[in-house]
């Protein structure tokens, strides 16, 4: 599950704040994003960027590979559909198993975040 996501920061981002997605969380972010509605690849990337207020920028290569992996795991379904601009795009949607996986990953994440928070407080 823990996949290295960020594949070399671009020149641009090196001068700016770190926008890499936290290791191992890309799957969860994709699943969460899709839990609201089916979306295509760019839509998902854009949504993550917007909702995180630009904190996270998704690497397209990682994203597209993640789709393949999640599809193989049975958590995503895909279908080619017309977009609102009447172009064909591959839309991803969450399967029942994907929903379950999202719950698991969210719970897992919360557990870790609160643990880290506790640790940081303790250090302070």
């Amino acid at each position: 599950m823990l996949t290295v996501i960020s594949k070399g920061a671009t020149l641009e981002s090196m001068n700016e704040a770190n926008t890499d997605v936290i290791q191992g969380t890309l799957d969860m972010l994709i699943l969460k994003t899709l839990s609201l509605e089916p979306l295509h690849g760019f839509g998902i990337a854009r949504r993550i960027e917007q909702v995180s207020k630009g904190v996270f920028k998704v690497n397209p290569g990682s994203l597209l590979t993640a789709f393949k992996r999640l599809e193989r795991m049975g958590w995503l379904d895909s279908e080619w559909r017309e977009t609102e601009k009447s172009r064909k795009a591959k839309y991803y949607s969450l399967t029942r198993a994907g929903r379950k996986q999202l719950d698991i990953e969210t719970a897992d994440w919360n557990r870790r975040v609160s643990a880290i928070a506790r640790l940081l407080r303790f250090e302070a």
């Binding site: 594949k7 671009t10 641009e12 295509h40 690849g41 760019f42 839509g43 990337a45 854009r46 397209p60 290569g61 597209l64 590979t65 393949k68 992996r69 599809e71 193989r72 795991m73 049975g74 601009k85 172009r87 064909k88 795009a89 591959k90 198993a97």
Partner: protein
């Protein structure tokens, strides 16, 4: 679920690769469009937006590769691509591929053929249920000097009734019967068995019933079981044969059952089984007539079985009376003890050692083949430096290059393995067609799945082995050096040369081991050939067995009929002499102790057993056995029941110091017996094989009377005629006519020349010799090829150096010597390794050697000299080419 999706998704992508690729391309281009649109929305110009989007996405091709690279199916694709590449490379280098394939096919074929024999003979279980429980009830009697003894009826009954470790015990012995009334009279082989014989083997009859205790009653009906083959050939597979009579030795027997087609026992030819017919009241302690087998209870070990057998064995003397004339303590005095063995081990005997030596031999051939191919590959690799450097420069990782190089060599290995398997199949066909090898369980040897798996694993391993050396050596990217197109002329050759030198030295070492092995076998064979077996001109001696049927009664009548047969045989044109013996030379016979008058035995001691054979007058002259002192028997001696014997030279020396002194001494068979006079002494006979010591022997006349007036005769004598026509079909017909002219119901069996019996006794040595010689020859040849290859490559690499040397005035001779010295040095290093290896390994074949020490200096010297000469030839030929180099050309060359 997810595993299934992984699999089916991957499979779909694999099958519909193009669709899958198109989808990825479409998705990426859509992503790019959307990103562009987003930048436009932020106010960038379409062109600038496009550029920005491209920048965000990075290199589209590598992105596509990255996305495409996910999933197991890509591994397969890469693999298939590498495989295609490997196949193309092998096809492009046809010369190399052909040579490597031939070398590998020979190595793998030879190893696989021997393995299939090892598997069929040594590894496979015997064809009975739970055959690991079956033991052969062998004994030993050190008190009378008999190391391996079979079993008596009394011991059989004792084990049966008193043993605690056996599920079943059975007794059997070979026999043959004249079958009449079913076409030509014929002598057929079979076994006399106790009623529980088939139960012990867990074999059910195909038809009818098996024997019961009632069949053993000598007053009951005579019953017989037929084997499937005999039943089909004589009764055409007719079920009505059950209950019918068959005439054996003139007496009708009732057929009660037919054995299944798969039935076999200890590789014997068997057409029928008849029950032992005996009265328990008549059973005496002695009479070691038969082979015993038993089935152990589950979980009982051989050691436990032997312990239990040792416990119950002495009970035999309490349960049964001693034979008349023998001391009641004979059994104890002979120190008879059990020596139970697994039935399979008994069947195989000491063949295992021979087979493992052959297996080791072929493994060495295999290693040499691998070293050879590795060497060829190394040379090829040098030429591929450029290609590999280009691949590395294009981004292939070292791992990927190693993988693709290994794939090439494994592919080569597997192709060689397939050819080798075909070779092994042919070799086995030839081997099983020739009677030379005469192996037990020969018919169980075949190319079965186990053998195929062996060949497969062997080829894989070989491919990895010879591929790994060059792959590891060259996969390290040496881009800069490699890309320089004239990499060859650099003097970096030394280091690369070292791997090849090492491989050649290793080949020489292994070849040395094989040559020493072959040399030792040649010396062994030579020594065996020079042992005087105790007969001469065996190629002109035709032998056959004729059984006098039960219808002829009276000992004198039987012997007179035997004399009549001999007279007829003598009259055959071209026959110079004819004689008869109870068991042919090299075919053993019974062993019994003799008591010499002037060697009074101590109390509680039995003199050693001697081999007994009964011979007709004129036997020694006919087979060319020297009469050293005294005289031969005459027909008058026979009919007058002379109390006399002829002893072998070694027995005469043992008892009386010299042959002449033996004449007139008296011997007897037991302390109550009457005396027999020694009337002659003959040369020793190597009856147990020429590689064994000649047993001490006593020859008796055909007609003999014991102290109690009982007369002994042999009904199934072997007849020997000396004639230059031996081995011809015409002679066999003449022999048959001569025999039937005495009595039309006399069957002739086992027609053979004594030479073929002698050859068979040497078969194991000759086959081992042949295979070792072939292996040694191959090793020598491959060694020469290896040295030749390395030296000629070294010459081609150093053309420029040679040019310089010659230009500076170096003589042709000096340059040649330079390269020859290199080859000789490699060979020298190899010989040191070979000496050590040979000393270690040939110790293992000690049991196969005769008349030669496994560290025989002559053999070692000749093998080393042979290899040295080979090295000289192998390096001189290419070195001479170096001297043909024109200095001007060489210097300009690069």
């Amino acid at each position: 679920m997810s595993l299934w999706r992984q699999f089916s998704g991957g499979l779909q992508a694999l099958v519909k690769r193009q669709t899958a690729d198109q989808e990825i391309t479409d998705e990426i281009s859509h992503y790019l469009d959307e990103a562009t649109a987003a930048f436009v929305a932020r106010g960038l110009s379409p062109d600038a937006a496009r550029r920005a989007a491209r920048k965000e996405l990075g290199n589209v091709t590598s992105l596509r590769q990255e996305v495409r690279g996910y999933g197991w199916e890509n591994r397969i694709e890469t693999f298939l691509a590498d495989l295609r590449h490997a196949a193309r490379w092998l096809l492009a280098n046809r010369g190399f591929t052909a040579v490597s394939l031939i070398v590998l096919a020979l190595g793998i074929g030879a190893t696989t053929a021997i393995f299939s024999i090892v598997e069929g003979v040594l590894l496979k279980p015997l064809p009975y249920p739970h055959s690991e429980q079956l033991v052969s009830l062998r004994h030993t009697a050190p008190g009378v000097g008999i190391p391996d003894l079979n079993m008596s009826t009394s011991v059989y009954l004792t084990y049966r009734e008193e043993g605690r470790v056996f599920q079943n015990v059975a007794l059997s012995t070979g026999g043959s019967w004249a079958v009449t009334g079913l076409g030509e009279p014929e002598k057929v082989p079979g076994r006399v068995v106790s009623h529980d014989f088939l139960d012990t083997l867990r074999i059910q009859p195909e038809l009818g019933r098996q024997f019961t205790a009632a069949d053993e009653n000598p007053d009951g009906e005579r019953t017989v079981m037929l084997t499937d083959g005999f039943w089909r050939s004589k009764f055409g597979g007719d079920r009505a044969a059950l209950g019918r009579h068959i005439v054996l030795d003139g007496t009708p027997w009732t057929i009660v059952g037919v054995l299944p087609p798969s039935f076999e026992f200890m590789d014997r030819k068997i057409s029928l089984l008849v029950p032992f017919r005996f009265r328990r009241a008549d059973v005496t302690v002695l009479g070691f007539c038969c082979d015993g087998i038993a089935r152990l209870k589950p979980g009982v070990t051989l050691a436990q079985a032997n312990a239990d057998a040792a416990r119950v064995l002495p009970l035999a003397t309490e349960k049964f009376p001693m034979n008349p004339g023998w001391s009641p303590t004979t059994f104890q005095d002979a120190r008879i003890a059990p020596r139970l063995q697994l039935l399979k081990d008994f069947l195989i005997g000491d063949l295992g050692k021979t087979l493992w030596v052959l297996m080791a031999t072929m493994s060495i051939v295999m290693l040499i083949a691998c070293a050879n191919v590795a060497n060829l590959l190394l040379v090829r690799m040098d030429e591929r430096q450029h290609e590999l450097a280009v691949r590395a420069a294009l981004g292939a990782t070292a791992g990927r290059i190693v993988r693709s190089l290994l794939l090439e060599s494994v592919l080569l290995g597997l192709l060689g393995g397939a050819l080798g398997l075909a070779l092994a199949w042919i070799a086995l066909r030839i081997l099983s067609a020739s009677t030379l090898m005469n192996l037990p369980r020969m018919h169980e040897i075949s190319i079965d799945p186990a053998v195929m798996a062996f060949a497969f694993v062997l080829s894989m391993l070989a491919g990895l082995l010879f591929g790994l050396i060059p792959a590891l050596k060259y996969a390290r990217p040496r881009t800069a050096a490699g890309l320089r197109s004239e990499g060859r002329s650099l003097t970096a050759g030394r280091e690369r040369q070292r791997a090849r030198d090492f491989l050649v030295a290793a080949q020489v070492s292994l070849a040395m081991i094989l040559l020493v092995g072959a040399g030792l076998m040649i010396r062994t064979f030579h020594a065996l050939r020079h042992v005087d077996p105790g007969f001469s001109g065996a190629a002109r001696l035709e032998t056959m067995q004729v059984g006098i049927p039960d219808t002829v009664q009276g000992t004198e009548q039987i012997v007179r009929m035997e004399e009549a047969i001999l007279r007829k045989l003598e009259a055959i044109p071209g026959v110079s002499s004819a004689a008869a013996i109870s068991a042919l030379p090299l075919n053993h016979d019974q062993n019994d102790p003799i008591y010499a008058e002037d060697h009074p035995e101590r109390k509680g001691e039995i003199p050693p057993a001697r081999r007994f054979k009964h011979v007709s007058p004129g036997y020694f002259a006919a087979v060319g056995s020297r009469l050293i002192a005294g005289r031969d028997f005459s027909w008058d001696d026979n009919y007058s029941r002379i109390h006399a014997g002829i002893v072998s030279e070694n027995l005469a020396r043992e008892l009386w110091g010299n042959p002449a002194a033996a004449i007139g001494r008296r011997i007897r068979l037991n302390p109550k017996d009457s005396w027999y006079e020694v009337i002659g002494v003959v040369a020793d006979l190597h009856d147990d094989g020429v590689d064994r010591n000649a047993p001490t022997m006593v020859y008796w006349p055909l007609l003999q009377r014991n102290a109690d007036g009982h007369e002994d005769v042999v009904r199934g004598l072997y007849y020997i005629v000396r004639t230059p026509r031996a081995g011809s079909e015409a002679l066999v017909r003449d022999l048959q006519t001569a025999v039937t002219s005495v009595n039309a119901k006399l069957p002739v069996a086992d027609v053979n020349t004594l030479q073929s019996i002698y050859d068979k006794s040497l078969a194991r040595s000759s086959v081992t010799l042949m295979l070792l010689a072939i292996a040694g020859g191959m090793a020598l040849l491959l060694g020469i090829v290896g040295i030749y290859g390395v030296i000629s490559y070294s010459v081609s690499l150093r053309t420029r150096e040679i040019g310089i040397r010659m230009a500076l005035g170096g003589s042709l001779e000096k340059v040649t010597r330079l390269f020859v010295r290199e080859g000789v040095a490699m060979c020298g290093i190899g010989l040191i390794g070979g000496f050590t290896g040979a000393l270690l390994l040939t110790g293992l074949m000690k049991s196969l050697l005769f008349g030669v020490n496994s560290a025989d200096p002559l053999t070692y010297a000749v093998a080393a000299a042979g290899l040295m000469v080979a090295a000289l030839v192998g390096s001189y030929l290419p070195a001479r080419r170096a001297t043909k180099v024109d200095p001007v050309e060489a210097l300009r060359a690069e």
